[in-house]
Symmetry: C2
Subunit: 384 residues, 2 copies
């Protein structure tokens, strides 16, 4: 919640969110966009301007017949508050400082020898200190820290119920991170955090529905439907990695067979490349190098993986029909090997007009996960 405000009226939240994600925007356009009267918009904007979150830009001169009063668009004052975001992986912490529009001001990493919760929290405290001490401006303007973790996360309580890559169970991450950093902490699943960032500040801006598919050790998916992140009534949603696409495919760690992740996750690719080449010591980098050099068995492994991802994405398009889909993730550093096969699998399996859904396929810049974590803490400003 904003520091100076009590409980926010829904109109204040709506105006803030719309200006943040779609501004600068005039009061008239805001009123139309939100279905509010222009009086209600003016009233809702006032405390946000007083608190310094919004500002009025200089009026744009409008001339010509039919032009009304010059409009003074409302804009976010992006430097009004800063946010720290940290992604916790099994072997590394990645941290950023962002402004209100999730623009990265600085970033830093720390290697993690072991993802033991005690060690991670000590390192997290040091990383946050490093980030906030890197500029005299940062610490006084920062009150919030967003954390992103893969696995089953209870955002409401900040409890990490289960994170397979970290081997964590029931770690009260928010509570412990608040104690160490003194900041207000938000914890979210990493794919959901990244989806929120893309929905608010990336290709998903303004989309009623939107999907982000992440390709890496796991294959994940964040879904926005009706403008809201889908979280699943039973705590599971977006598990595109476990859509079954080949009953005779490789065994999956989930107990089934031929899941997208069992064919296209990083581990699966290495395993299949070792089998295909007969070289049991092959690494992912070796497999990528072999495939780029034109080795047919290695190329076939990436082709099959891309096809499985495309087929899984088509399931998302056929079932939910998002306005657009972004495919990203650290696995897409081998983008060139995947892309044509993702598109081919998608086109083959997308039904009718579902094939019209635009697909952006691109690698994920290094700090994006941490920026996603920061975005969740920006969102917490208005969610509280």
């Amino acid at each position: 919640m904003f520091p100076e405000a009590g409980v926010l009226a829904p109109a204040v939240t709506a105006v803030f969110t719309a200006v943040l994600t779609e501004g600068p925007i005039s009061r008239v356009a805001l009123a139309r966009r939100l279905g509010l009267s222009s009086g209600a918009v003016t009233k809702a904007a006032r405390p946000l301007i007083e608190m310094g979150y919004l500002e009025e830009l200089a009026a744009t001169e409008r001339t010509g017949p039919g032009a009304g009063r010059p409009a003074s668009p409302l804009a976010i004052r992006a430097d009004r508050e800063l946010f720290v975001g940290v992604k916790i992986t099994g072997d590394e912490l990645i941290g950023v400082v962002c402004d209100l529009r999730a623009q990265v001001r600085t970033s830093a990493h720390r290697r993690l020898p072991v993802p033991d919760p005690d060690q991670v929290l000590t390192q997290l405290g040091e990383l946050v200190d490093d980030l906030l001490d890197s500029h005299a401006d940062y610490r006084p303007r920062t009150r919030r820290l967003g954390l992103a973790v893969s696995g089953d996360v209870d955002r409401t309580t900040g409890l990490v119920r289960y994170s397979p890559f970290l081997r964590w169970r029931d770690v009260p991450l928010r509570e412990r991170a608040e104690k160490i950093t003194g900041l207000t902490v938000t914890v979210e699943n990493d794919v959901k955090a990244l989806t929120t960032a893309e929905h608010w500040f990336g290709e998903g801006v303004g989309a009623e529905s939107f999907a982000l598919v992440t390709v890496g050790a796991g294959i994940g998916c964040g879904l926005v439907v009706g403008g809201r992140l889908v979280s699943g009534s039973h705590g599971v949603a977006g598990e595109i990695g476990h859509v079954g696409c080949d009953p005779n495919g490789p065994a999956c760690h989930c107990g089934s067979r031929g899941c997208v992740e069992a064919i296209a996750g990083t581990g699966a690719i290495v395993r299949q490349a070792r089998e295909a080449t007969g070289r049991p010591e092959l690494t992912l980098a070796d497999a990528v190098a072999l495939a780029r050099a034109g080795d047919p068995p290695a190329r076939a492994v990436f082709a099959r993986a891309g096809d499985a991802i495309g087929s899984g994405i088509a399931a998302v398009a056929n079932l939910v029909g998002p306005a657009r889909i972004v495919v990203s993730g650290e696995g897409l550093s081998a983008y060139d090997l995947f892309e044509p096969h993702i598109r081919a699998g998608f086109q083959r399996q997308a039904f009718g007009a579902a094939a019209d859904c635009p697909l952006s396929i691109r690698p994920l810049p290094f700090e994006e996960w941490a920026r996603g974590a920061a975005t969740v803490s920006i969102k917490a400003l208005v969610d509280a």
Copy 2:
């Protein structure tokens, strides 16, 4: 829209919908449920009571310490208005008259020799007349007709863009049906209509998210997320029939291979049963009889089909996480042959807690499709 009201305030729509689907319910419970003040509920209910859509039930006596004023729950007057619903299939019209709570008062059918639009509309006019003339009460109380058609339907304009089973393209069904019947007509895709009926009056009542899967000539799915029917940004949603589940499976009419529908649709089952038994004249009824008599090849065809449906349903649960899923449709007249395999395929492929999603698997009573069509015309009362 209600005949006597102008544009309805959102609170009136919310109160009407909540009492219709969850009533009888006290004003206090309504206020809590809708996040309205009890004054706002009283104000919103007043015109609905005056128009005869709602009534106050006798106060239930509350005794004991802490009991407040006796509560007078609000209830729907189900016989205030009647609705006709008709499902149009390739060879038959199925019609019902329903009350406001979608309870069927009477039903009737007409065989269709050819699904030519002119003939269908003539027959439709006669069927509606038969239905409304079957009781002196019906015609004076009926203003609305809902039509359900498989395929790509534009609900806003009432245009049937493409219906493969009817072989219709761009038929302005609403306009033509209004001319012939004199009623206010709503046109909707049949699976969506059935989903609305189940969400408002069936197992989906009160669910934030919900899925209905229909098994028959096609395999369809209606999805409710965040309380609203998902329609897909590109006009496609719920196409569970074209989730790919076996790259080596049979060719599908969509151009791909191993789609759920290519394995489990009625036509696919007949085709596979003919191949498996070497009897090219086999009908669906023959295949069902053979399988029920224990014939292993025929049983294997239903087992594989059930498994493919279960795997497709798991994709819905893994991606969207509905609170519950109902599986129904005329194909489930062979319920006994499908059910264990649907459950096994679902359990194998559902990821983690997604397997907790309750699955109801049941045959679809004859008039349910038509009742779905009527429900959409009930919904149009408040959607207008």
